[in-house]
């Protein structure tokens, strides 16, 4: 029986493989893209939390290290502005990184296809 049905079973598997190959580009631009976007937005949210940008912005006029004298407040505001600028630059870079990854994801199939055709011609 196994020998008789072998072709049938194998046919089923080949069919499944063919279906996978056919559906794979579709997945890449739909569910795959959506999942990547989710991952990137999580990455941005984590980066924002890690850089504490919102906390620094909220506390821009709150003196650092509990120094409430005039000089302390002045230095604190200055330091906080510097920190916010540096952290914003850092965050902008991370934002850019995310955008690049998404663009790569979008462009990669086209690039590969184009390169293969170009290599063959």
């Amino acid at each position: 029986m196994p020998t008789n049905n072998f072709l049938f079973y194998f046919g089923q598997i080949v069919f499944e493989l063919a279906r996978d190959l056919a559906l794979f580009p579709l997945w890449w631009y739909t569910r795959g893209l959506f999942e990547l976007a989710q991952k990137i937005s999580q990455f941005w949210a984590d980066s924002l939390k890690g850089l504490n940008l919102v906390v620094w912005l909220k506390n821009i006029f709150v003196p650092m290290y509990g120094q409430r004298d005039f000089t302390g407040v002045l230095i604190s505001i200055f330091m906080r502005i510097v920190q916010i600028i540096l952290r914003s630059i850092g965050f902008a870079l991370l934002l850019l990184l995310g955008v690049v990854i998404i663009l790569l994801w979008l462009g990669l199939p086209v690039l590969i296809l184009w390169q293969i055709i170009w290599q063959l011609t």
């Binding site: 029986m1 196994p2 049905n5 079973y9 194998f10 089923q12 598997i13 499944e16 493989l17 996978d20 190959l21 794979f24 997945w27 890449w28 795959g32 999942e35 939390k49 890690g50 504490n52 906390v55 620094w56 909220k58 506390n59 709150v62 003196p63 650092m64 290290y65 509990g66 990669l108 199939p109 590969i112 390169q115 293969i116 290599q119 063959l120």
Partner: protein, 908 residues
């Protein structure tokens, strides 16, 4: 993390088809072929598995083909990188322009391979994601209205449980089908299923090892039952019970938030669905608690790993210095000296996981949300108050806490260091400094363990502030947040009603129930297992909880059980070596070492000893058959746990003239029942004749320890012998009234002393003359006893005390025959001593009789005999030994005239 098991799943079986789904080979009209299933939040979970030979082969073939394809794709994917590197390696060392280095601008078959492999890499990503989708087979949904009958079920949304099976359980199901097919069984039963669960799933097998079950024996029993099923032609189909099991397993998996149904999820439903299997498990000493708690153990371990991963992810954002994220905090040099940062310790995973205390943690948060700034956890030492605070610290790290705890540090103030060696004035100064620094910093929550230590400390006269008031005022006015712990007694004594008691909201932490405690302990065991390189069985845990609950009354769960398990782990690792199995017996050994209860009492199979208790007692006790019988029967009842657990093991009153063996029987009981005659607390009641003797017995609030209470507290497993009980003051007898009834007594310091593991024996000479007269007159012992109680005993003791005794046992005066046997027993002891010196002792029957007659006085029983034997035998032997007349290998003879002679050994 909640440790409570999920609620029982309601199973619905179609009454028309009996769960088969068909009647006379036609689809059942009532249930529409569903047969049996379970309701899960309004959806109906049924089981319809497509099991057939071709499908199984197809799945296996598919698995093999895909494994090979995956391997090939990974090789191809990596091949592209190799091709690109190779292309670069072939470039000349000097290139004309940069363009030559840009591979996407160059034509080469190697670069073509690179691009092709990049396409394959995309395929790998796709297949990896597909695998993740396939693994997630159970999706969460919002609860719907519960269908009431089959008509409603037919309209309700349905879930096929078979579609939720994970890879391993699918393999188990296939093997189950193949087994039934091979054995030509018409139905696939739960027996087929459990057989394959045990052989295929490593996790299930290891659970049975935890339960200390011999897997081979279990498989044999299942095999025996399988062999009883009659073979029938045709392809096997799923029985109603298996369908029920799988449906319930799906519900179990769903309720525990799993992504697929795994083999472990089937165990409890299997046990529930199958009476035969329940019996087999029961035969191997697996009951519901054991199974549920062991399965919970496996889930707790999974959850711990999952939580740890999640925790690590969240902990990245928590600062590890004493600065908060907003940099508004102030340096705290003083606090840094006297405190320990729990949030930093939690961030680096140094704190224990808190299991089963969600209710208490939520209560703490509710108080904070409602504007309280201080919370005190009140409970007995060892119930896990500190653990709850550590749980809060961990939640602070993941920021899963109320707003006022976010971005804060939890500092444990070391009160011993803060106040140690300081005068009250200095202590007050330090406390103020700590409070001020905390308030100034603005990002600190203070935690004080055993906060009662700061009450009652004040710097000046009685009217000045004490430390508790300073703290209370800081909580009230300065916005200080404080967590504290305190034992129940100290809360009542030091905090309740005081300013600190009012400033702190009370959260009670109760001792967990046995099953809760077991599951709390299960979360700690992994740590011990890796530390000591041993493996704990479930019995070890259950015994630790059970025995510590029974014998360690002044400590509390779960800590007392954890301490025992730790000791048992250390002992097992040392004695049995690495990878040793820590069993219930190992735990019993530790408990016995801690409580001085002989191991035999706790765990050994002692049924033989108990059944032959009379013979055993008579080995060292002559006569008094009735007394021995009553005592032995009572002890057997106690050992078979056929007694109320709230009273002493037994209370006896021994009545009879002096020298008839009352004390001897008590000693014998101590030896036979507790393993050693030293497990006896002897109280000569003639020393307690005054009213103030009560203090001597139970101690005073000033700190004097009571003789009785202290002895029983130290070794609860003891025989308490109250000699000449009638001589004690009535107040003392009233104490025993309570002990005999409730099995406990409060000592002078207010501690409750447990007497439930004691045997109380009171002896008395009341009516001794009457007994002698009546026995001589040939009256029955039962009649003598009744008369004694009615006429003599009531005069000396209150009737309620007399009623508390489980047995009032009358000892008959000894006859000459008894005294002869006693004399033989006593001389045998001398014989043993002589044997130790290399000498023998031979006693003639006539000589023994003469000695017994000389030592027997009816009114003093066998007591004069001991003196006589000392004078006539022991003293003479001693003299002969000292004079050198008696040497090694010589034999001492007691001849027919009861004279001591020496038979010299032949010279060598």
């Amino acid at each position: 993390m909640d440790s409570k098991p999920a609620k029982t799943t309601p199973v619905i079986v179609c009454q028309t088809c009996g769960g088969r789904g068909s009647v006379d080979n036609k689809r059942c009209q009532m249930c529409g072929g569903l047969g049996v299933g379970a309701i899960l939040d309004g959806k109906f979970v049924y089981t319809e598995a497509n099991l057939s030979w071709p499908l199984i082969v197809l799945r296996q073939l598919r698995k093999t083909v895909f494994t090979i394809l995956d391997f090939i794709t990974i090789v191809c994917g990596l091949g592209g990188v190799v091709a690109l590197v190779w292309w670069y390696a072939q470039l000349p060392t000097q290139v004309a322009s940069v363009d030559e280095l840009l591979f996407w601008k160059q034509h080469s078959w190697l670069i073509l391979i690179f691009w092709l492999s990049l396409g394959v890499d995309m395929l790998i990503v796709y297949r990896w994601r597909q695998r993740a989708y396939e693994a997630k087979k159970i999706s969460k949904f919002k609860p719907l209205a519960e269908p009431a009958d089959w008509q409603a079920i037919s309209k309700a949304p349905k879930i096929n449980a078979a579609a939720g099976l994970g890879e391993e359980l699918t393999t188990v199901m296939e093997k189950t089908y193949l087994l039934a097919n091979q054995l030509k069984h018409a139905q696939i039963t739960n027996l087929h299923l459990i057989y394959n669960l045990l052989t295929v799933s490593g996790e299930v097998a290891s659970l049975f090892v935890r339960m200390n079950v011999n897997g081979q024996k279990l498989l044999e029993k299942i095999g025996n039952q399988l062999s009883k099923i009659q073979p029938q032609p045709g392809s096997p189909f799923l029985s109603t019970e298996v369908k029920q099991t799988i449906a319930e397993a799906y519900v179990e998996a769903y309720r525990h938030g799993r992504e697929q149904v795994n083999p472990v999820d089937c165990l409890i439903p299997l046990w529930r669905a199958d009476k035969l299997l329940e019996e087999i498990f029961y035969d191997l000493a697996i009951d519901e608690d054991k199974l549920v708690n062991t399965v919970a153990w496996s889930r707790i371990n999974d959850k711990l790993i999952h939580n740890y991963q999640l925790y690590k992810k969240m902990a990245r954002f928590k600062p590890s210095t004493n600065m908060n994220r907003a940099y508004t905090a102030v340096a705290t040099p003083f606090l840094d000296q006297f405190s320990f940062d729990l949030t930093v310790a939690a961030k680096f995973g140094q704190l224990d996981v808190c299991v089963g205390r969600d209710k208490e943690i939520n209560q703490v948060f509710e108080y904070l949300d409602s504007g309280q700034r201080g919370v005190v956890l009140v409970g007995q030492a060892g119930v896990g108050k500190n653990e709850i605070i550590e749980g809060v610290a961990q939640l602070m790290v993941t920021e899963d806490v109320p707003k006022m705890l976010k971005d804060k540090r939890l500092l444990e103030l070391d009160l011993a260091r803060l106040l140690g060696g300081a005068t009250p004035a200095e202590a007050q100064e330090r406390m103020l400094e700590a409070v001020n620094e905390t308030v100034r910093s603005g990002n600190i929550i203070l935690y004080m363990q055993n906060v009662e230590n700061i009450t009652g400390l004040s710097s000046g006269s009685g009217d000045s502030l004490d430390l508790a008031e300073i703290l209370a005022s800081a909580i009230g006015r300065q916005g200080l947040y404080v967590f504290a712990t305190c034992t129940s007694q100290n809360y009542t004594r030091n905090l309740e009603g005081g300013p600190l008691g009012q400033a702190l909201a009370k959260v009670e932490v109760n001792e967990p129930e046995d099953n809760e405690a077991i599951q709390m302990i299960e979360s700690k065991i992994a740590f011990f297992e890796s530390k000591f390189k041993v493996f704990y069985t479930y019995d070890a845990l259950a015994q630790a909880v059970k025995l510590s609950g029974r014998y360690l009354h002044d400590q509390y769960l779960p800590e007392k059980a954890i301490t025992i398990l730790e000791k048992a782990g250390v002992a097992a690792a040392r004695v049995k070596g690495a990878q040793a199995l820590v069993s219930g017996e190992d735990v019993a050994g530790v408990v016995s070492a801690t409580t001085h209860v002989p191991v035999a009492r706790v765990s050994q199979a002692e049924s033989e000893l108990l059944l032959n208790l009379e013979t055993k007692i008579h080995e060292r006790m002559v006569g008094q058959e009735e007394a021995v019988k009553i005592v032995a029967e009572s002890l057997r009842r106690a050992r078979a746990e056929l007694r109320e657990g709230k009273r002493p093991i037994a209370n006896f009153l021994f009545l009879g003239p002096t020298g008839v063996g009352k004390t001897e029987l008590a000693k014998t009981i101590a030896q036979v029942y507790f393993g050693d005659e030293n497990y006896m607390i002897r109280l000569d009641m003639s020393e307690y004749q005054l009213a103030d003797s009560v203090d001597k017995m139970i101690g005073t609030p000033e700190g004097t320890l009571g003789y009785l209470t202290e002895k029983v507290r130290q070794s609860p497993f003891s025989l308490i012998l109250l000699d000449e009980v009638e001589k004690a003051h009535p107040d003392i007898l009233n104490l025993f009234l309570q002990v005999m009834d409730d099995g406990r007594l409060t000592d002078g310091q207010g501690r409750t002393i447990d007497f439930t593991n004691s045997i109380i024996i009171a002896t008395s000479n009341i009516g001794a003359v009457y007994i002698q007269e009546q026995v001589r007159a040939g009256a029955a012992l039962e009649k003598i006893r009744e008369e004694l109680v009615d006429k003599y005993l009531v005069e000396k003791m209150r009737p309620e005390l007399i009623n508390r005794f489980d047995g009032i046992i009358v000892f008959r005066p000894l006859a000459l025959g008894d005294v002869v046997s006693i004399a033989r027993l006593m001389l045998n002891k001398t014989k043993e001593l002589l044997l130790g010196k290399g000498m023998g002792l031979e006693i003639s029957d006539n000589g023994l009789k003469i000695l017994a007659q000389a030592g027997f006085e009816p009114e003093f029983g066998a007591r004069p005999l001991r003196r006589l034997l000392q004078d006539k035998i022991d003293n003479i032997i001693a003299n002969k030994l000292l004079s050198g007349e008696l040497e090694r290998r010589d034999v001492v003879e007691i001849n027919d005239q009861a004279e001591v002679q020496v038979r010299k050994a032949a010279k060598l």
